[in-house]
Symmetry: none
Subunit: 266 residues, 2 copies
DNA sequence: TGTCATTTGTTCGTATGTATG
DNA sequence: CCATACATACGAACAAATGAC
Protein backbone atom coordinates (compact mmCIF):
# COMPACT_ATOMS: atom_id res chain seq x y z
CA UNK A 1 0.00 0.00 0.00
CA UNK A 2 0.99 3.60 0.47
CA UNK A 3 4.11 3.25 -1.55
CA UNK A 4 5.59 6.63 -1.88
CA UNK A 5 7.01 7.24 -5.34
CA UNK A 6 10.71 7.60 -5.20
CA UNK A 7 12.25 10.12 -7.47
CA UNK A 8 14.27 8.50 -10.18
CA UNK A 9 14.04 5.03 -8.74
CA UNK A 10 12.33 3.83 -11.83
CA UNK A 11 14.66 0.89 -12.21
CA UNK A 12 13.79 -0.84 -9.00
CA UNK A 13 10.21 0.33 -8.91
CA UNK A 14 9.60 -1.22 -12.30
CA UNK A 15 10.92 -4.56 -11.20
CA UNK A 16 8.95 -4.52 -8.03
CA UNK A 17 5.96 -6.72 -8.48
CA UNK A 18 3.33 -6.62 -5.82
CA UNK A 19 4.09 -3.84 -3.41
CA UNK A 20 4.96 -6.12 -0.54
CA UNK A 21 8.66 -6.50 -1.01
CA UNK A 22 11.19 -4.11 0.40
CA UNK A 23 13.77 -2.44 -1.77
CA UNK A 24 16.69 -4.52 -0.70
CA UNK A 25 14.65 -7.67 -1.10
CA UNK A 26 13.66 -6.61 -4.58
CA UNK A 27 17.21 -5.78 -5.43
CA UNK A 28 18.39 -9.07 -4.02
CA UNK A 29 15.98 -10.98 -6.17
CA UNK A 30 16.90 -8.96 -9.19
CA UNK A 31 20.56 -9.71 -8.72
CA UNK A 32 19.79 -13.35 -8.13
CA UNK A 33 17.94 -13.49 -11.41
CA UNK A 34 20.77 -11.78 -13.21
CA UNK A 35 23.23 -14.24 -11.80
CA UNK A 36 21.06 -17.17 -12.75
CA UNK A 37 20.55 -15.71 -16.17
CA UNK A 38 24.28 -15.65 -16.62
CA UNK A 39 24.77 -11.91 -16.82
CA UNK A 40 27.33 -12.27 -14.06
CA UNK A 41 29.16 -15.54 -14.36
CA UNK A 42 30.70 -17.57 -11.62
CA UNK A 43 34.10 -16.22 -10.79
CA UNK A 44 33.36 -12.83 -12.21
CA UNK A 45 32.95 -9.69 -10.22
CA UNK A 46 29.67 -7.91 -9.97
CA UNK A 47 29.54 -4.11 -10.04
CA UNK A 48 30.80 -2.31 -6.99
CA UNK A 49 28.43 -1.18 -4.31
CA UNK A 50 28.74 2.38 -5.50
CA UNK A 51 27.84 1.40 -9.02
CA UNK A 52 24.82 -0.59 -7.92
CA UNK A 53 23.81 2.30 -5.76
CA UNK A 54 23.81 4.62 -8.74
CA UNK A 55 22.29 2.16 -11.14
CA UNK A 56 19.27 1.48 -8.97
CA UNK A 57 19.19 4.83 -7.28
CA UNK A 58 19.15 3.51 -3.77
CA UNK A 59 21.36 4.13 -0.81
CA UNK A 60 24.47 2.17 -0.23
CA UNK A 61 22.90 0.67 2.83
CA UNK A 62 20.13 -0.81 0.74
CA UNK A 63 22.65 -2.24 -1.66
CA UNK A 64 24.56 -3.79 1.19
CA UNK A 65 21.43 -5.33 2.67
CA UNK A 66 20.73 -6.98 -0.65
CA UNK A 67 24.30 -8.17 -1.04
CA UNK A 68 24.32 -9.47 2.48
CA UNK A 69 21.39 -11.63 1.59
CA UNK A 70 23.12 -13.15 -1.38
CA UNK A 71 26.31 -13.59 0.57
CA UNK A 72 24.49 -15.44 3.29
CA UNK A 73 23.05 -17.69 0.63
CA UNK A 74 26.49 -18.46 -0.66
CA UNK A 75 25.96 -16.82 -4.03
CA UNK A 76 28.46 -14.04 -3.49
CA UNK A 77 31.73 -13.51 -1.71
CA UNK A 78 33.04 -10.09 -0.91
CA UNK A 79 36.55 -9.03 -0.13
CA UNK A 80 37.55 -5.62 1.03
CA UNK A 81 39.72 -3.82 -1.43
CA UNK A 82 38.87 -6.16 -4.24
CA UNK A 83 35.20 -6.51 -4.93
CA UNK A 84 32.34 -8.94 -4.85
CA UNK A 85 32.65 -12.17 -6.77
CA UNK A 86 29.97 -14.60 -7.87
CA UNK A 87 30.58 -17.85 -6.10
CA UNK A 88 27.68 -19.95 -7.29
CA UNK A 89 25.04 -19.67 -9.91
CA UNK A 90 22.25 -20.83 -7.70
CA UNK A 91 21.72 -21.57 -4.11
CA UNK A 92 23.18 -24.91 -3.20
CA UNK A 93 21.06 -27.44 -1.42
CA UNK A 94 20.77 -25.99 1.95
CA UNK A 95 21.42 -27.76 5.13
CA UNK A 96 18.87 -27.96 7.78
CA UNK A 97 19.70 -27.87 11.34
CA UNK A 98 17.35 -29.78 13.48
CA UNK A 99 16.61 -27.82 16.55
CA UNK A 100 14.61 -29.95 18.80
CA UNK A 101 15.58 -33.15 17.13
CA UNK A 102 18.22 -34.31 19.53
CA UNK A 103 16.80 -32.12 22.24
CA UNK A 104 13.46 -33.67 21.75
CA UNK A 105 14.88 -37.14 22.10
CA UNK A 106 16.62 -36.17 25.25
CA UNK A 107 13.62 -34.44 26.68
CA UNK A 108 11.45 -37.39 25.91
CA UNK A 109 13.62 -39.80 27.81
CA UNK A 110 14.15 -37.36 30.59
CA UNK A 111 10.45 -36.84 30.90
CA UNK A 112 9.60 -40.51 30.97
CA UNK A 113 10.30 -43.38 33.25
CA UNK A 114 11.58 -46.55 31.70
CA UNK A 115 10.74 -50.03 32.85
CA UNK A 116 12.62 -53.01 31.53
CA UNK A 117 10.19 -55.83 30.94
CA UNK A 118 12.38 -58.47 29.42
CA UNK A 119 15.92 -59.07 28.31
CA UNK A 120 17.66 -61.63 26.18
CA UNK A 121 20.66 -62.31 24.02
CA UNK A 122 20.18 -63.27 20.43
CA UNK A 123 21.81 -63.62 17.06
CA UNK A 124 20.49 -61.40 14.32
CA UNK A 125 18.62 -63.37 11.74
CA UNK A 126 18.22 -62.11 8.20
CA UNK A 127 15.18 -60.03 8.96
CA UNK A 128 16.50 -58.33 12.06
CA UNK A 129 19.90 -57.78 10.48
CA UNK A 130 18.19 -55.97 7.69
CA UNK A 131 16.13 -53.81 9.96
CA UNK A 132 19.01 -52.89 12.25
CA UNK A 133 21.65 -52.53 9.58
CA UNK A 134 23.98 -55.14 11.02
CA UNK A 135 25.45 -58.30 9.59
CA UNK A 136 23.52 -61.48 9.88
CA UNK A 137 24.68 -63.55 12.82
CA UNK A 138 25.75 -60.54 14.84
CA UNK A 139 25.29 -61.18 18.53
CA UNK A 140 22.98 -58.64 20.13
CA UNK A 141 21.51 -57.85 23.49
CA UNK A 142 17.86 -57.00 23.44
CA UNK A 143 15.70 -55.27 26.00
CA UNK A 144 11.98 -54.79 25.80
CA UNK A 145 11.02 -51.69 27.71
CA UNK A 146 7.97 -49.60 28.42
CA UNK A 147 8.01 -45.85 28.88
CA UNK A 148 5.74 -44.17 31.38
CA UNK A 149 5.06 -40.63 32.32
CA UNK A 150 6.81 -40.20 35.64
CA UNK A 151 4.09 -38.30 37.45
CA UNK A 152 1.28 -40.70 37.13
CA UNK A 153 1.74 -43.94 38.92
CA UNK A 154 1.82 -46.94 36.75
CA UNK A 155 -0.83 -45.94 34.31
CA UNK A 156 -0.69 -46.65 30.63
CA UNK A 157 2.68 -46.56 28.94
CA UNK A 158 3.49 -43.85 26.43
CA UNK A 159 5.47 -46.21 24.29
CA UNK A 160 6.95 -49.65 24.04
CA UNK A 161 10.27 -50.36 22.47
CA UNK A 162 12.91 -52.90 21.74
CA UNK A 163 16.44 -51.74 22.35
CA UNK A 164 19.40 -53.46 20.79
CA UNK A 165 23.07 -53.06 21.53
CA UNK A 166 26.08 -54.99 20.34
CA UNK A 167 27.15 -57.83 22.56
CA UNK A 168 30.21 -56.01 23.81
CA UNK A 169 28.02 -53.19 25.09
CA UNK A 170 25.40 -55.38 26.64
CA UNK A 171 26.20 -54.08 30.08
CA UNK A 172 24.50 -50.78 29.58
CA UNK A 173 21.13 -52.44 29.54
CA UNK A 174 21.54 -52.93 33.27
CA UNK A 175 21.38 -49.22 33.86
CA UNK A 176 18.88 -47.89 31.41
CA UNK A 177 16.01 -47.84 33.87
CA UNK A 178 17.94 -46.01 36.52
CA UNK A 179 19.82 -43.25 34.76
CA UNK A 180 17.44 -40.62 33.49
CA UNK A 181 19.42 -40.52 30.32
CA UNK A 182 19.09 -41.53 26.72
CA UNK A 183 20.42 -44.98 26.13
CA UNK A 184 22.77 -43.82 23.44
CA UNK A 185 24.54 -41.46 25.80
CA UNK A 186 24.95 -44.31 28.24
CA UNK A 187 26.65 -46.33 25.57
CA UNK A 188 28.80 -43.39 24.71
CA UNK A 189 29.86 -42.83 28.27
CA UNK A 190 30.35 -46.43 29.32
CA UNK A 191 32.19 -47.60 26.29
CA UNK A 192 33.85 -44.56 24.89
CA UNK A 193 32.18 -44.74 21.55
CA UNK A 194 30.84 -41.68 19.89
CA UNK A 195 27.58 -41.67 18.02
CA UNK A 196 27.98 -39.76 14.82
CA UNK A 197 24.93 -40.59 12.84
CA UNK A 198 21.36 -41.52 13.50
CA UNK A 199 19.00 -42.96 10.97
CA UNK A 200 15.29 -42.99 11.55
CA UNK A 201 12.30 -44.51 9.84
CA UNK A 202 8.72 -43.73 10.65
CA UNK A 203 5.73 -45.74 9.57
CA UNK A 204 2.12 -45.75 10.58
CA UNK A 205 0.80 -49.08 11.80
CA UNK A 206 -2.16 -50.59 13.54
CA UNK A 207 -1.41 -52.48 16.68
CA UNK A 208 -1.59 -56.25 16.65
CA UNK A 209 -3.06 -57.81 19.78
CA UNK A 210 0.37 -58.88 20.99
CA UNK A 211 1.68 -55.36 20.59
CA UNK A 212 -1.37 -53.69 22.05
CA UNK A 213 -1.45 -55.70 25.25
CA UNK A 214 1.66 -54.35 26.99
CA UNK A 215 0.68 -50.86 25.90
CA UNK A 216 -2.80 -51.32 27.32
CA UNK A 217 -4.07 -50.11 24.01
CA UNK A 218 -6.85 -51.36 21.85
CA UNK A 219 -5.79 -53.84 19.21
CA UNK A 220 -6.26 -52.25 15.82
CA UNK A 221 -5.63 -48.71 17.02
CA UNK A 222 -3.01 -46.67 15.25
CA UNK A 223 0.54 -46.04 16.32
CA UNK A 224 3.79 -44.68 15.00
CA UNK A 225 6.40 -47.31 14.38
CA UNK A 226 9.74 -45.61 14.76
CA UNK A 227 13.04 -47.38 14.31
CA UNK A 228 16.36 -45.73 14.85
CA UNK A 229 19.87 -46.89 14.24
CA UNK A 230 22.84 -45.22 15.85
CA UNK A 231 26.20 -45.38 14.13
CA UNK A 232 29.72 -44.53 15.17
CA UNK A 233 32.31 -42.85 13.01
CA UNK A 234 33.18 -46.13 11.31
CA UNK A 235 29.57 -46.61 10.34
CA UNK A 236 29.12 -49.49 12.71
CA UNK A 237 25.76 -49.82 14.29
CA UNK A 238 26.19 -49.19 17.98
CA UNK A 239 22.63 -49.18 19.09
CA UNK A 240 19.17 -49.46 17.67
CA UNK A 241 15.64 -49.13 18.87
CA UNK A 242 12.30 -50.13 17.48
CA UNK A 243 9.41 -48.46 19.17
CA UNK A 244 5.65 -48.25 19.05
CA UNK A 245 4.04 -44.96 19.99
CA UNK A 246 0.24 -45.02 20.13
CA UNK A 247 -1.21 -42.10 18.23
CA UNK A 248 -3.35 -40.85 21.03
CA UNK A 249 -0.37 -40.55 23.33
CA UNK A 250 2.41 -39.36 21.12
CA UNK A 251 3.08 -37.23 18.10
CA UNK A 252 6.43 -36.77 16.50
CA UNK A 253 7.43 -33.13 16.16
CA UNK A 254 10.51 -31.75 14.55
CA UNK A 255 11.68 -28.26 13.89
CA UNK A 256 14.27 -27.48 11.31
CA UNK A 257 16.15 -24.29 10.89
CA UNK A 258 17.91 -23.60 7.68
CA UNK A 259 21.52 -23.24 8.46
CA UNK A 260 23.03 -19.94 7.47
CA UNK A 261 26.38 -20.54 5.83
CA UNK A 262 28.81 -19.22 8.38
CA UNK A 263 29.41 -15.65 7.48
CA UNK A 264 32.54 -13.75 6.89
CA UNK A 265 34.96 -16.36 5.66
CA UNK A 266 36.03 -18.72 2.94
CA UNK B 1 36.09 -12.70 32.45
CA UNK B 2 33.10 -10.84 31.14
CA UNK B 3 32.42 -7.99 33.43
CA UNK B 4 28.81 -7.13 33.76
CA UNK B 5 27.73 -3.71 32.75
CA UNK B 6 24.54 -3.37 34.69
CA UNK B 7 23.71 0.25 35.04
CA UNK B 8 24.03 2.89 32.47
CA UNK B 9 27.60 3.57 31.86
CA UNK B 10 29.64 0.54 30.99
CA UNK B 11 30.86 0.86 27.46
CA UNK B 12 31.77 -1.95 25.20
CA UNK B 13 35.38 -0.91 25.23
CA UNK B 14 35.76 -2.43 28.67
CA UNK B 15 34.64 -5.82 27.51
CA UNK B 16 36.54 -5.69 24.30
CA UNK B 17 39.55 -7.92 24.56
CA UNK B 18 42.53 -6.86 22.58
CA UNK B 19 40.47 -4.50 20.52
CA UNK B 20 40.55 -6.88 17.62
CA UNK B 21 36.85 -7.45 17.51
CA UNK B 22 34.35 -5.03 16.12
CA UNK B 23 31.81 -3.43 18.36
CA UNK B 24 28.85 -5.36 17.14
CA UNK B 25 30.79 -8.62 17.42
CA UNK B 26 31.75 -7.77 20.95
CA UNK B 27 28.20 -6.89 21.78
CA UNK B 28 26.93 -10.07 20.18
CA UNK B 29 29.31 -12.11 22.26
CA UNK B 30 28.34 -10.28 25.38
CA UNK B 31 24.66 -10.87 24.80
CA UNK B 32 25.32 -14.51 24.06
CA UNK B 33 27.08 -14.86 27.37
CA UNK B 34 24.28 -13.17 29.20
CA UNK B 35 21.75 -15.46 27.62
CA UNK B 36 23.78 -18.50 28.48
CA UNK B 37 24.25 -17.24 31.99
CA UNK B 38 20.51 -17.10 32.33
CA UNK B 39 20.12 -13.37 32.71
CA UNK B 40 17.63 -13.53 29.89
CA UNK B 41 15.70 -16.75 29.96
CA UNK B 42 14.18 -18.59 27.07
CA UNK B 43 10.83 -17.09 26.22
CA UNK B 44 11.64 -13.81 27.86
CA UNK B 45 12.23 -10.58 26.06
CA UNK B 46 15.58 -8.92 25.98
CA UNK B 47 15.82 -5.13 26.30
CA UNK B 48 14.68 -3.10 23.36
CA UNK B 49 17.14 -1.89 20.80
CA UNK B 50 16.91 1.60 22.20
CA UNK B 51 17.74 0.37 25.69
CA UNK B 52 20.70 -1.65 24.51
CA UNK B 53 21.86 1.33 22.54
CA UNK B 54 21.87 3.46 25.65
CA UNK B 55 23.25 0.82 27.93
CA UNK B 56 26.28 0.15 25.78
CA UNK B 57 26.57 3.59 24.32
CA UNK B 58 26.58 2.50 20.71
CA UNK B 59 24.45 3.38 17.75
CA UNK B 60 21.30 1.53 16.95
CA UNK B 61 23.01 0.23 13.85
CA UNK B 62 25.61 -1.53 15.95
CA UNK B 63 22.95 -3.01 18.18
CA UNK B 64 21.06 -4.30 15.19
CA UNK B 65 24.16 -5.87 13.67
CA UNK B 66 24.74 -7.73 16.91
CA UNK B 67 21.14 -8.84 17.16
CA UNK B 68 21.19 -9.93 13.55
CA UNK B 69 24.01 -12.26 14.40
CA UNK B 70 22.16 -13.89 17.23
CA UNK B 71 19.00 -14.10 15.20
CA UNK B 72 20.82 -15.90 12.43
CA UNK B 73 22.07 -18.38 14.99
CA UNK B 74 18.57 -19.03 16.15
CA UNK B 75 19.10 -17.63 19.61
CA UNK B 76 16.74 -14.71 19.17
CA UNK B 77 13.54 -13.95 17.34
CA UNK B 78 12.32 -10.43 16.76
CA UNK B 79 8.86 -9.25 15.93
CA UNK B 80 7.98 -5.72 15.01
CA UNK B 81 5.80 -4.05 17.53
CA UNK B 82 6.56 -6.57 20.20
CA UNK B 83 10.20 -7.04 20.90
CA UNK B 84 12.96 -9.59 20.77
CA UNK B 85 12.59 -12.83 22.64
CA UNK B 86 15.12 -15.46 23.53
CA UNK B 87 14.45 -18.58 21.60
CA UNK B 88 17.25 -20.83 22.72
CA UNK B 89 19.77 -20.68 25.47
CA UNK B 90 22.72 -21.56 23.35
CA UNK B 91 23.83 -22.91 20.08
CA UNK B 92 24.17 -26.42 21.42
CA UNK B 93 27.54 -28.00 21.12
CA UNK B 94 26.15 -31.20 19.78
CA UNK B 95 23.96 -30.32 16.97
CA UNK B 96 22.29 -32.55 14.56
CA UNK B 97 22.36 -31.79 10.97
CA UNK B 98 19.61 -33.35 9.07
CA UNK B 99 21.17 -34.72 5.98
CA UNK B 100 18.55 -36.01 3.75
CA UNK B 101 15.83 -34.03 5.38
CA UNK B 102 15.59 -31.21 2.94
CA UNK B 103 17.20 -33.26 0.23
CA UNK B 104 14.70 -35.94 0.80
CA UNK B 105 11.84 -33.51 0.48
CA UNK B 106 13.27 -32.20 -2.71
CA UNK B 107 13.86 -35.64 -4.09
CA UNK B 108 10.37 -36.66 -3.20
CA UNK B 109 8.78 -33.86 -5.12
CA UNK B 110 11.17 -34.24 -7.99
CA UNK B 111 10.37 -37.90 -8.15
CA UNK B 112 6.64 -37.41 -8.10
CA UNK B 113 4.11 -35.82 -10.33
CA UNK B 114 1.64 -33.47 -8.78
CA UNK B 115 -1.95 -33.08 -9.81
CA UNK B 116 -4.06 -30.22 -8.51
CA UNK B 117 -7.51 -31.52 -7.80
CA UNK B 118 -9.18 -28.50 -6.32
CA UNK B 119 -8.46 -24.95 -5.33
CA UNK B 120 -10.18 -22.36 -3.23
CA UNK B 121 -9.70 -19.25 -1.17
CA UNK B 122 -10.65 -19.28 2.45
CA UNK B 123 -10.30 -17.52 5.77
CA UNK B 124 -8.62 -19.45 8.52
CA UNK B 125 -11.05 -20.44 11.23
CA UNK B 126 -9.89 -21.13 14.74
CA UNK B 127 -9.04 -24.74 14.07
CA UNK B 128 -7.08 -24.18 10.87
CA UNK B 129 -5.34 -21.13 12.32
CA UNK B 130 -4.15 -23.30 15.16
CA UNK B 131 -2.92 -26.05 12.91
CA UNK B 132 -1.13 -23.74 10.50
CA UNK B 133 0.22 -21.30 13.04
CA UNK B 134 -1.46 -18.26 11.55
CA UNK B 135 -3.85 -15.75 12.96
CA UNK B 136 -7.54 -16.46 12.81
CA UNK B 137 -9.12 -14.70 9.87
CA UNK B 138 -5.98 -14.83 7.76
CA UNK B 139 -6.87 -15.17 4.11
CA UNK B 140 -5.36 -18.26 2.58
CA UNK B 141 -5.24 -20.01 -0.74
CA UNK B 142 -5.72 -23.71 -0.55
CA UNK B 143 -4.93 -26.42 -3.06
CA UNK B 144 -5.77 -30.06 -2.73
CA UNK B 145 -3.24 -32.10 -4.67
CA UNK B 146 -2.37 -35.70 -5.32
CA UNK B 147 1.13 -36.99 -5.85
CA UNK B 148 1.84 -39.78 -8.31
CA UNK B 149 4.91 -41.67 -9.28
CA UNK B 150 5.83 -40.28 -12.67
CA UNK B 151 6.68 -43.53 -14.43
CA UNK B 152 3.49 -45.37 -13.99
CA UNK B 153 0.55 -43.90 -15.72
CA UNK B 154 -2.24 -42.74 -13.54
CA UNK B 155 -2.06 -45.43 -10.96
CA UNK B 156 -2.70 -44.90 -7.31
CA UNK B 157 -1.39 -41.72 -5.73
CA UNK B 158 1.47 -41.85 -3.28
CA UNK B 159 0.01 -39.13 -1.15
CA UNK B 160 -2.68 -36.52 -0.92
CA UNK B 161 -2.14 -33.13 0.56
CA UNK B 162 -3.58 -29.74 1.25
CA UNK B 163 -1.26 -26.87 0.49
CA UNK B 164 -1.79 -23.45 1.98
CA UNK B 165 -0.14 -20.18 1.10
CA UNK B 166 -0.87 -16.66 2.22
CA UNK B 167 -3.21 -14.70 0.01
CA UNK B 168 -0.46 -12.51 -1.38
CA UNK B 169 1.37 -15.59 -2.63
CA UNK B 170 -1.65 -17.32 -4.03
CA UNK B 171 -0.27 -17.10 -7.52
CA UNK B 172 2.27 -19.83 -7.03
CA UNK B 173 -0.47 -22.42 -6.85
CA UNK B 174 -0.91 -21.94 -10.58
CA UNK B 175 2.49 -23.42 -11.24
CA UNK B 176 2.92 -26.16 -8.72
CA UNK B 177 1.89 -28.92 -11.07
CA UNK B 178 4.19 -27.81 -13.83
CA UNK B 179 7.48 -26.96 -12.17
CA UNK B 180 9.15 -30.08 -10.87
CA UNK B 181 10.01 -28.19 -7.77
CA UNK B 182 9.03 -28.05 -4.15
CA UNK B 183 6.30 -25.57 -3.56
CA UNK B 184 8.30 -23.74 -0.96
CA UNK B 185 11.06 -22.97 -3.44
CA UNK B 186 8.48 -21.64 -5.84
CA UNK B 187 7.27 -19.26 -3.19
CA UNK B 188 10.82 -18.27 -2.42
CA UNK B 189 11.64 -17.55 -6.02
CA UNK B 190 8.45 -15.87 -7.05
CA UNK B 191 8.06 -13.66 -4.07
CA UNK B 192 11.52 -13.14 -2.77
CA UNK B 193 10.85 -14.57 0.64
CA UNK B 194 13.29 -16.85 2.30
CA UNK B 195 12.22 -19.87 4.28
CA UNK B 196 14.24 -20.08 7.42
CA UNK B 197 12.44 -22.60 9.52
CA UNK B 198 10.29 -25.62 9.01
CA UNK B 199 8.18 -27.24 11.66
CA UNK B 200 6.84 -30.73 11.20
CA UNK B 201 4.38 -32.95 13.04
CA UNK B 202 3.83 -36.59 12.35
CA UNK B 203 0.93 -38.66 13.56
CA UNK B 204 -0.39 -42.06 12.64
CA UNK B 205 -3.99 -42.15 11.52
CA UNK B 206 -6.49 -44.44 9.90
CA UNK B 207 -8.07 -43.16 6.76
CA UNK B 208 -11.66 -42.01 6.83
CA UNK B 209 -13.69 -42.93 3.77
CA UNK B 210 -13.55 -39.37 2.46
CA UNK B 211 -9.79 -39.37 2.78
CA UNK B 212 -9.33 -42.84 1.40
CA UNK B 213 -11.29 -42.30 -1.78
CA UNK B 214 -8.99 -39.89 -3.64
CA UNK B 215 -6.04 -42.00 -2.55
CA UNK B 216 -7.72 -45.12 -3.84
CA UNK B 217 -6.96 -46.68 -0.52
CA UNK B 218 -9.07 -48.79 1.74
CA UNK B 219 -10.95 -46.87 4.39
CA UNK B 220 -9.54 -47.77 7.76
CA UNK B 221 -6.04 -48.45 6.50
CA UNK B 222 -3.18 -46.66 8.16
CA UNK B 223 -1.36 -43.57 6.97
CA UNK B 224 1.09 -40.98 8.16
CA UNK B 225 -0.45 -37.60 8.74
CA UNK B 226 2.32 -35.07 8.22
CA UNK B 227 1.84 -31.36 8.61
CA UNK B 228 4.55 -28.86 7.92
CA UNK B 229 4.73 -25.13 8.42
CA UNK B 230 7.30 -22.99 6.67
CA UNK B 231 8.36 -19.72 8.26
CA UNK B 232 10.36 -16.75 7.10
CA UNK B 233 12.87 -14.83 9.15
CA UNK B 234 10.17 -12.82 10.85
CA UNK B 235 8.43 -15.95 11.99
CA UNK B 236 5.56 -15.45 9.62
CA UNK B 237 4.05 -18.57 8.19
CA UNK B 238 4.70 -18.51 4.48
CA UNK B 239 3.43 -21.89 3.49
CA UNK B 240 1.97 -24.98 5.04
CA UNK B 241 1.00 -28.43 3.98
CA UNK B 242 -1.08 -31.15 5.50
CA UNK B 243 -0.57 -34.50 3.87
CA UNK B 244 -1.70 -38.10 4.11
CA UNK B 245 0.78 -40.78 3.17
CA UNK B 246 -0.61 -44.31 3.15
CA UNK B 247 1.66 -46.66 5.04
CA UNK B 248 1.99 -49.18 2.28
CA UNK B 249 3.26 -46.57 -0.14
CA UNK B 250 5.40 -44.29 1.95
CA UNK B 251 7.70 -44.32 4.93
CA UNK B 252 9.35 -41.31 6.41
CA UNK B 253 13.11 -41.66 6.65
CA UNK B 254 15.53 -39.22 8.14
CA UNK B 255 19.22 -39.32 8.70
CA UNK B 256 20.89 -37.12 11.23
CA UNK B 257 24.54 -36.47 11.52
CA UNK B 258 25.95 -35.12 14.70
CA UNK B 259 27.85 -32.03 13.98
CA UNK B 260 31.51 -32.24 14.86
CA UNK B 261 32.43 -29.78 17.57
CA UNK B 262 34.52 -27.65 15.24
CA UNK B 263 34.18 -24.28 16.94
CA UNK B 264 36.50 -21.85 15.34
CA UNK B 265 35.15 -18.45 16.16
CA UNK B 266 35.95 -15.89 18.82
C1' DT C 1 -14.34 0.26 16.55
C1' DG C 2 -10.34 3.34 16.09
C1' DT C 3 -6.50 5.91 18.00
C1' DC C 4 -2.11 5.93 20.18
C1' DA C 5 2.41 4.65 21.95
C1' DT C 6 5.90 1.22 21.48
C1' DT C 7 9.14 -1.66 18.98
C1' DT C 8 11.24 -3.55 15.19
C1' DG C 9 11.98 -2.98 9.98
C1' DT C 10 13.57 -0.21 6.18
C1' DT C 11 15.88 3.60 4.08
C1' DC C 12 18.38 7.50 3.59
C1' DG C 13 22.89 10.36 4.58
C1' DT C 14 27.63 10.66 6.17
C1' DA C 15 32.12 9.49 7.95
C1' DT C 16 35.90 6.63 9.01
C1' DG C 17 38.43 2.13 9.21
C1' DT C 18 40.63 -1.76 6.83
C1' DA C 19 42.25 -4.68 3.17
C1' DT C 20 44.12 -4.89 -1.45
C1' DG C 21 46.83 -3.91 -5.42
C1' DC D 1 51.78 6.46 -0.35
C1' DC D 2 47.57 6.19 -2.90
C1' DA D 3 43.28 4.93 -4.99
C1' DT D 4 39.75 1.51 -4.71
C1' DA D 5 36.25 -1.26 -2.54
C1' DC D 6 34.25 -3.41 1.16
C1' DA D 7 33.52 -3.09 6.57
C1' DT D 8 32.12 -0.66 10.46
C1' DA D 9 29.88 3.03 12.74
C1' DC D 10 27.12 7.16 13.82
C1' DG D 11 22.76 9.90 13.09
C1' DA D 12 18.06 10.56 11.48
C1' DA D 13 13.59 9.56 9.79
C1' DC D 14 9.59 7.06 8.44
C1' DA D 15 7.01 2.56 7.73
C1' DA D 16 4.82 -1.51 9.49
C1' DA D 17 3.32 -4.45 13.11
C1' DT D 18 1.51 -4.93 17.44
C1' DG D 19 -0.76 -4.36 21.80
C1' DA D 20 -3.25 -1.35 24.93
C1' DC D 21 -6.66 1.86 25.66
Amino acid sequence: MSLKPVNGAATLAAARRGGGASRYATLARLLTEEIEAGRYKVGQMIPTEAELQQRFDVSRHTVREALRDLKSQGLLTARAGVGTVVRAKSRPTRFMQGIGTLKELVQFVEATRMKVVKRRVLLADADLAERLAVKEGQQLHEAFVLRFLPKEKETVPVASMFIYVRAEHGGVLDHIDKAGQPVFSLVERHHGVRIVEVSQQIVAVTLAPVEARPLKARAGSTALHISRQYFDSQDRMVMASIGLYPSDRFSHNTKFRIQPPDEKDS
